[in-house]
């Protein structure tokens, strides 16, 4: 039995059986195909929000069986880490169902949620992968931190630091990560929320580890992202991140992203792989310990955001499978096709928030599928995400489904050809750090539309 992370590491590094990567992938696909048949799991095209609990439970069992069969592949060593049934059950038993993040007045307790539960979800806002620049990073993140409904902030470093292009695993990446930490902590302080929980996606383990610094970087109440490569793969860089957080004593967000059309197969296979990814996160990312929360993101095979009915089906089916059958604290990761400053992006945010919240998930975002500009986002998207998520907590899945179908109708034509939107300086007045009139107009229109569709939002005009 694998009892702790050091044993897991040893198996990944030198003790596990060696397998060629493509053999691992093909065996995974073959097993998924068998399991879909065994458990009678099929994709339902017209169901963006899953309401069939029995199906979700079957997906959970299939995902568990898949992980027992495949284990996790370590890409650097070509070794596989296998676990036994007892270890999977033990990991589920360990889950406490709550985790404390942030400090001082900004401390938050994130609790496990179930589908159709009316508790308020935890909102982790930010401009995810939005090409923030060193010059505007403080203002950009202040615009997020000043949103009262945002509980935590995700950030990633600028692509250029002091004029130097940042490269993975280099001193420049480390420096960019540390400067980004300083900037975001400054932004949080300027917003009057110095203790707000920060989640860093600095890049390599060296950069993430370099961020861990109670004085000017990440505190033990903050977190770093621990990645998973699709499907069910880890690498030494990711394991190093886990190891470091366990010793430094800060938190982790362990995330994974099943690919629809990839090695998991179609949407039904991706849902099963998503549940297997949950077990990978528990046992490799050590999310079974009370120092981690989890993030699930669905990646479509085509180049667009994950806001179409198929991605929602995978996210809600797998999400509900996990939240119904464990005490996991899991975030749904929001990924829109359209960019900020567009009505379409607000519709996509709302559709994502509603599907995730009624499925028992917390909220992480906003990421746009294809950022094309520098500082491609602002705080208003996080505000809208939080407002729609809170309103969605008053709904059940059936009510939510009707709203989401209406929203999808509004943007489906443009899903693979969405507008880029605008940059932070185009959307906000940089002195007052308030959204410009034109942007607020779109925001209010989106809220009015959603109220008319039945989402119990509070009007703010």
């Amino acid at each position: 039995l694998v009892n702790n992370f050091w044993e897991v590491s040893e198996i990944a590094v030198s003790k596990g059986p060696k397998v060629e990567i493509r053999d691992f992938d093909m065996a995974l696909y073959k097993k998924i195909t068998e399991l879909l048949d065994k458990y009678g799991i099929t994709f339902e095209e017209e169901t963006p929000i899953q309401t069939d609990d029995d199906l979700s439970d079957r997906v959970f069992q299939a995902g568990k069986e898949l992980y027992l069969s495949t284990g996790t592949y370590c890409m650097d060593t070509k070794r596989v880490v296998h676990f036994e049934q007892e270890e999977l059950d033990e990991a589920l038993f360990y889950l406490r169902g709550e985790i404390s993040v942030g400090c001082g007045t900004e401390q938050r307790l994130i609790r496990h949620r179930k589908p159709d539960e009316h508790s308020i979800p935890f909102i982790e806002g930010g401009v995810v992968g939005g090409n923030s620049t060193e010059e505007l990073q403080v203002q950009l993140y202040q615009s997020v931190a000043q949103e009262p409904l945002v509980d935590a902030i995700y950030f990633d470093p600028p692509a250029l630091i002091s004029g130097f292009r940042v490269e993975h695993g280099t001193p420049l990446e480390l420096m960019a990560a540390r400067i980004a930490c300083l900037n975001v902590r400054k932004a949080a302080s300027l917003a009057g929320r110095p203790g707000i929980h920060l989640l860093a996606g600095a890049g390599s383990a060296v950069a993430d580890m370099g961020c861990c610094d109670p004085e000017s970087g990440l505190r033990p109440t903050d977190a770093i992202c621990t990645h998973t490569t699709s499907e069910l793969k880890t690498d030494l860089d990711s394991l190093n991140k886990v190891a470091y957080t366990l010793h430094y004593g800060c938190l982790r967000q362990v995330w994974w992203a099943p690919v629809i059309g990839g090695f998991a197969g179609g949407p039904a296979g991706a849902a099963v792989a998503a549940v297997a990814g949950f077990f990978h996160s528990l046992l490799i990312g050590m999310a079974k310990l009370p120092s981690a929360y989890m993030g699930l993101r669905v990646t479509p095979y085509f180049r667009a955001g994950a806001t179409d009915p198929m991605c929602f089906w995978v996210l809600t089916t797998a999400g509900q499978a996990i939240t119904r059958n464990s005490r996991a604290i899991i975030q749904g990761s929001m990924n829109t096709s359209a960019g900020p400053g567009t009505l379409m992006m607000f519709y996509e945010i709302a559709a994502s928030a509603v599907t995730m919240v009624v499925s028992g998930m917390h909220i992480f975002g906003v990421r746009i599928h294809r950022p094309t500009r520098q500082n491609h986002g602002s705080g208003l998207e996080s505000r809208f995400m939080a407002e729609t998520a809170r309103a969605a907590a008053q709904l059940n899945r059936k009510e939510a489904k009707q709203i989401v179908l209406q929203l999808i109708d509004r943007y489906k034509e443009n899903h693979r050809n969405a507008p880029d939107g605008f940059s932070f300086p185009e959307l906000y007045d940089l002195k007052s750090l308030r959204p410009k009139k034109e942007y607020l107009k779109i925001y209010h229109q989106a809220k009015r539309d959603l109220i008319n569709m039945g989402l119990p939002l509070t009007p703010t005009e």
Partner: protein, 225 residues
């Protein structure tokens, strides 16, 4: 009747590709050659028809990446059987080119690159997939070893994009730039970036990568833009 029979067998060959059945494909190609059928016809009306069908199914999510890989392998096996029988004219007609493909050093993203590799194979290219986390020198040495026409370089992170430029830089440094066309792609990569680093082509997705690759080998290649 003979012609109808042949048409039926070519259709079966295409189905063999769709079913990813390498053994059956090999047997059928041998049988068709023994019947005196022209290799070019077997390729075009059997193997290629099957691969096109798989690609179409992949685009509509009726087939997935593992199916694409297995069908490409069956296709490749069929082509290998045909190769010795090709006339000089057929060799020139059907040889699309050779591609060395991989994800750059520091980047372990595999799925997108593998999709493109399989699609290029399906389109008739001879593809050498170097995997992920590939150093620039490995791209170059393998390209020289197999006399590649195209070096296809993938990345999925903004912090690894520079490595695509490094491949071109190394080609220039070693005075090899004229020997290979460089095709770039991946999540953060744009047409603008491809131009900036001096790549010869950019493919937003697998379909576009095939079009660009064909253009690069057939026209001798033009710089992006």
């Amino acid at each position: 009747v003979q012609s109808d029979l042949i048409e039926k067998e070519l259709l079966q060959l295409a189905k063999g590709i769709e079913k990813e059945d390498s053994v059956a494909v090999k047997k059928m190609v041998i049988a068709l050659l023994e019947k005196g059928l022209r290799p070019g016809k077997i390729l075009e009306e059997g193997l290629v028809v099957g691969m096109k069908s798989v690609l179409k199914k992949f685009e509509t999510l009726e087939a997935f990446l593992p199916n694409l890989i297995l069908a490409s392998q069956a296709f490749q096996i069929g082509v290998e059987v045909l190769k010795p029988s090709f006339s000089e004219q057929e060799k020139n007609q059907f040889r699309k080119g050779t591609v060395v493909i991989g994800t750059v050093k520091g980047d372990i993203h595999d799925v997108g690159k593998t999709i493109v590799a399989s699609m290029l194979t399906a389109a008739g290219f001879e593809v050498y997939d170097l995997g992920v986390d590939v150093p620039s020198e490995t791209f170059l040495s393998r390209a020289l070893e197999v006399s590649a026409d195209i070096i296809a370089v993938s990345c999925l992170m903004t912090t690894t994009m520079q490595k695509q430029g490094e491949v071109i830089e190394d080609l220039e440094r070693l005075r090899l730039r004229d020997r290979f066309k460089v095709l770039v792609g991946g999540g953060p990569v744009t047409d603008h970036w491809a131009k900036q680093i001096g790549a010869d082509g950019y493919g937003e997705d697998g379909i576009e990568a095939i079009d660009v690759a064909i253009r690069l080998v057939s026209s001798g290649g033009k710089k992006v833009g």
